[in-house]
């Protein structure tokens, strides 16, 4: 529960409020929702509601923290057993809970579109989309050839518009994932020395994707799923939960990374199964300012069933069933050779894979460039975008330590380390 706090100060602020004195009214409906009125500095008491299924919060206080201290205090009270289960919520709580229930299952949630009302019309729309995407892929092919024909030096001079235009055409062609990939390319010419090689790699991989997208029928099913998701076809959560065979394991929560794009914050949580050794990626999203899913806290182990999205290298997964959470020990760390071999094997299945979770047992070095090297002296560079990584150096003191992060073609992006006492340290 403490992991739900947005930061340490809010939690500290909540603790003094977690007493009966501050809460003349509290209640709970089974294990689904809590509500209460908290005496605050304003004349009217604050009204706080927590939907435990999210969890999601609503409070009438002016705090911009999310969850605010009142919601946290209410949760603290509840976890102490000080909130009685007393049936129906008052109107002000009930209306929000109902509204939320409607929203999470309603059509506004892109992950859960409503089942189509008219199967024939849906079929027609699906076919239309396939045709649009196919046309889009032909157009992308032509565009890529144009780039290489005119030379990449020209596209560097062209500016952001250059990629925005083709990205917009991919949106029209209903291939949103391609559009996003193309939009991201605008930054490549400004990414430092070697940009032309990186741009050519990206163009070449898009070329390969377009070719695979046009020839879906000739692909084995898992690779077809990968190609379709990289083009922008989504699979509904319900479908994943219904069709995937759940994988049960003690999932070590290795690392977490939040990325902001277009006012949406995406949270990537990387897991690794203790028994199966499988890697998994749990994504969550929030509009900027809203609080992201905090239920998986880095360093712990979670006994859970994961449902994997179908893919050639299944990584993305949903938590189908969650049981207990344990304080985790440092995960076993790989060698550099092991890391590279693991990534190579995954590339063999999915050549577009460019973010791969790894755990290394290694010491940091600064020359010839910031790197991590293992006991055999083998090294991998740190990602230039990750900055100086001084906290990682400071934590190691020059000795090897366990580091988890994302491996990419540009290097390793360190996200978590374990200190010599085995304590987890987010970087």
């Amino acid at each position: 529960m403490l992991a739900l706090a947005p930061d340490a100060p809010s939690l500290r602020a909540a603790q003094p409020l977690a007493s009966d004195r501050s809460w003349p009214v509290t209640g709970a409906a089974d294990d689904s929702a809590l509500w209460g009125q908290c005496r605050g500095s304003a004349a009217a008491p604050y009204r706080t509601v927590v939907d435990l299924s999210g969890p999601a919060y609503r409070c009438s206080c002016p705090s911009r923290k999310f969850p605010c201290k009142h919601a946290l205090a209410l949760l603290l009270l509840w976890s102490d057993g000080a909130v009685a289960t007393n049936g129906a919520p008052p109107d002000w709580a009930a209306s929000w809970i109902a509204e939320r229930a409607a929203r999470t299952s309603g059509p506004e949630n892109p992950e859960n579109p409503k089942p189509p009302a008219d199967p024939a019309a849906a079929q027609r729309r699906a076919e239309q989309r396939e045709a649009r995407v196919a046309t889009g892929l032909v157009e992308l092919d032509r565009w890529l050839c144009d780039q290489v024909r005119q030379g990449l030096a020209a596209s560097q001079r062209a500016g952001y518009r250059h990629w925005d235009d083709i990205a917009a055409r991919m949106v029209d062609a209903q291939a949103p994932a391609l559009a996003e990939r193309l939009r991201a390319l605008a930054a490549v010419p400004y990414s430092g020395a070697g940009w032309e090689a990186r741009l050519l790699e990206e163009y070449a991989l898009l070329w390969l994707l377009a070719a695979a997208g046009r020839d879906q029928a000739g692909l084995p099913a898992p690779l077809r799923d990968t190609v379709r998701s990289r083009v922008g076809f989504t699979v509904r959560q319900a479908e994943v939960l219904a069709s995937a065979t759940p994988v049960r394991d003690y999932w070590h929560v290795l690392a977490r990374r939040d990325l902001d794009q277009d006012r949406i914050r995406t949270r990537r949580v990387w897991l690794r199964g203790r028994e199966t050794g499988r890697a998994a990626l749990v994504l969550s999203f929030a509009v900027l300012g809203q609080s992201l899913d905090d239920s998986l806290s880095v360093g712990t182990e979670v006994d859970a069933d994961l449902a994997f999205y179908p893919a050639a290298v299944p990584l993305r997964a949903l938590l189908a069933t969650r049981r207990d959470t344990f304080p985790g020990r440092p995960p076993p760390g790989d060698t550099v050779t092991g890391l590279l071999a693991g990534y190579a094997a995954a590339l063999g299945e999915d050549p577009w894979l460019d973010t791969w979770p790894v755990v290394l047992q290694a010491a940091p070095a600064r020359a010839p460039r910031p790197s991590l090297y293992d006991a055999a002296g083998d090294a991998v560079p740190l990602h230039p975008g990750a900055g100086d990584c001084w906290p990682l150096f400071a934590l190691s003191g020059g000795d090897p330590l366990t580091v988890a992060g994302e491996w990419t073609p540009r290097g390793l992006w360190p996200l978590t380390a374990w200190d010599e006492g085995g304590m987890v340290v987010p970087l």
């Binding site: 930061d7 500095s41 890529l144 050839c145 030379g151 032309e196 163009y203 070449a204 190579a344 010839p368």
Partner: protein, 437 residues
């Protein structure tokens, strides 16, 4: 891989002008369909090579960095580590020195992952923040010195401390201060001689430093030096320090002079609603007041006191606090509770400055309690005084149920002072709680 390089060069120029180089990948047959659009051929080959290069990547080599010498000190608790991260993130950053002082005093080791941020903070603070730099170097220990070896930007912070008389002769202000403080602890007479001998040639900054060191171990033997400092050139900083320190010394001549001035201005009357204070502030700043460190004219900074109120406040601030309790036969708590009409803010601010300078925790506690429960601070100077009190008062006041909880309609300011005391209390308690890490 030069084939890849050639391919990149061709793509940069464009296939309109450049020839697409042939690509050979070990273990794969040479491509045959080279007859199509050269651009398509190039992209085909680049795709193949991209996958092959990513999958076939070899490990690099790296130059190991020297290993840091071990730090025998126990680590602070995880709660303390989290709090430090929060402070570095902007939560009460002004309490960092108090945290570091407490960590160093307890012989604990701060969390290594926060050292880079601490070193950066101390470096950016510049030479004026000598105390912060020394605290970071001391608390940071061998790990901070090791980091400074890797990043020259931090060298100035974590440079090995000069020891003994070298620190005095060659060190910066911070190192000289450290030497003087330890000499004062081990051989007070020698330290006083050193100050007296260096006084004449010292600049203002050094003189202020001398006095700030004396402040930590003030002794009646310091009175002659301090009285002499009042006769100094009118360097406001030096006189200020000297007059505040003299007010703290029992039986000092300045203390007597100030007490007389103060009691000429404040008397107690018994009205219908009980006793209250009647204030008649000084009308002008005469030569003897100036000599005792009082500055005429509007206060610098944000003060909105009128000329006379400003003089009154300065007199109260330099008056030994026992003057009040002795004269009126009341405790500090009873004193601060007395009504004084429009002069309440002036007395509150003056008493606050006096309590902080004289390190009188009874008065600080009385003033804080008064501010939290009764009369709320109204003016900006009062607010500032309350903020100072919350920073300087004994952090034990922040323990749960020690001070009254601010009421629901208390102003933000009151809540802030209350929270700040609680924060300091928790911060220090965490350091005593658990050192197992």
């Amino acid at each position: 891989m030069s084939t890849w390089h050639d391919l990149v060069t061709a793509s940069l120029i464009g296939t309109e002008r450049a020839v697409v180089p042939a690509v050979a990948i070990p273990g794969l047959p040479a491509a045959e369909d080279d007859t199509g659009d050269p651009a398509a051929v190039l992209l085909d080959r680049a795709a193949l090579l991209t996958a092959a290069r990513r999958a076939g990547r070899r490990p690099d080599r790296a130059e190991p960095v020297p290993v840091c010498e071990p730090d025998p000190r126990p680590a602070v608790s995880q709660a303390a580590a989290i709090r430090l991260a929060g402070m570095l993130d902007g939560e009460h950053p002004d309490l960092l020195t108090e945290w570091l002082t407490a960590v160093a005093a307890r012989g604990l080791q701060p969390p290594p992952q926060s050292l880079p941020a601490l070193l950066d903070r101390a470096r950016r603070a510049g030479p004026k923040a000598a105390v912060l730099r020394h605290l970071v170097a001391e608390a940071g220990g061998p790990r901070a010195r090791w980091l400074a070896g890797l990043n020259p930007e931090w060298e100035s912070v974590a440079a090995p401390a000069l020891a003994g008389p070298d620190a005095w002769r060659l060190g910066d202000t911070g190192q000289r201060r450290g030497y003087l403080a330890s000499l004062l602890a081990s051989d007070p007479d020698a330290a006083r001689e050193l100050i007296a001998g260096s006084w004449g040639a010292a600049g203002i900054a050094d003189r202020v430093m001398f006095l700030s060191v004396l402040a930590d171990r003030l002794d009646p033997a310091d009175a002659p030096l301090l009285e002499g400092a009042l006769d100094d050139r009118p360097d406001v900083g030096v006189r200020d320090w000297a007059s505040y320190l003299l007010a703290r010394l029992p039986g000092s001549a300045l203390g007597h002079r100030m007490a007389e001035r103060a009691l000429r201005c404040v008397r107690m009357e018994h009205g219908a609603r009980g006793p209250h204070l009647v204030v008649t502030p000084p009308t002008e700043c005469d030569a003897s007041m100036r000599h005792d460190g009082i500055v005429p004219g509007p206060a610098t900074g944000r003060s909105q006191f009128s000329y006379r109120a400003h003089l009154m406040c300065q007199v109260v601030a330099r008056t030994p606090l026992r003057t009040w309790t002795d004269e009126f036969g009341l405790t500090a708590v009873q004193m601060v509770a007395l009504g004084s009409g429009d002069w309440a803010p002036v007395l509150f601010t003056g008493w606050t400055r006096a309590a902080i300078a004289q390190r009188d925790h009874d008065w600080m506690a009385a003033l804080i309690s008064q501010a939290l429960t009764g009369r709320l601070p109204g003016t900006a100077t009062e607010a500032e005084a309350l903020g100072l009190l919350a920073r300087r008062a004994d952090p034990a006041l922040g323990a749960p149920d020690t001070l009254p909880e601010p009421g629901p309609d208390a102003r933000t300011l009151i809540h802030a002072a209350h929270d700040l005391l609680r924060f300091r209390y928790d911060m220090l308690k965490e350091l005593d709680d658990d050192h197992s890490g």
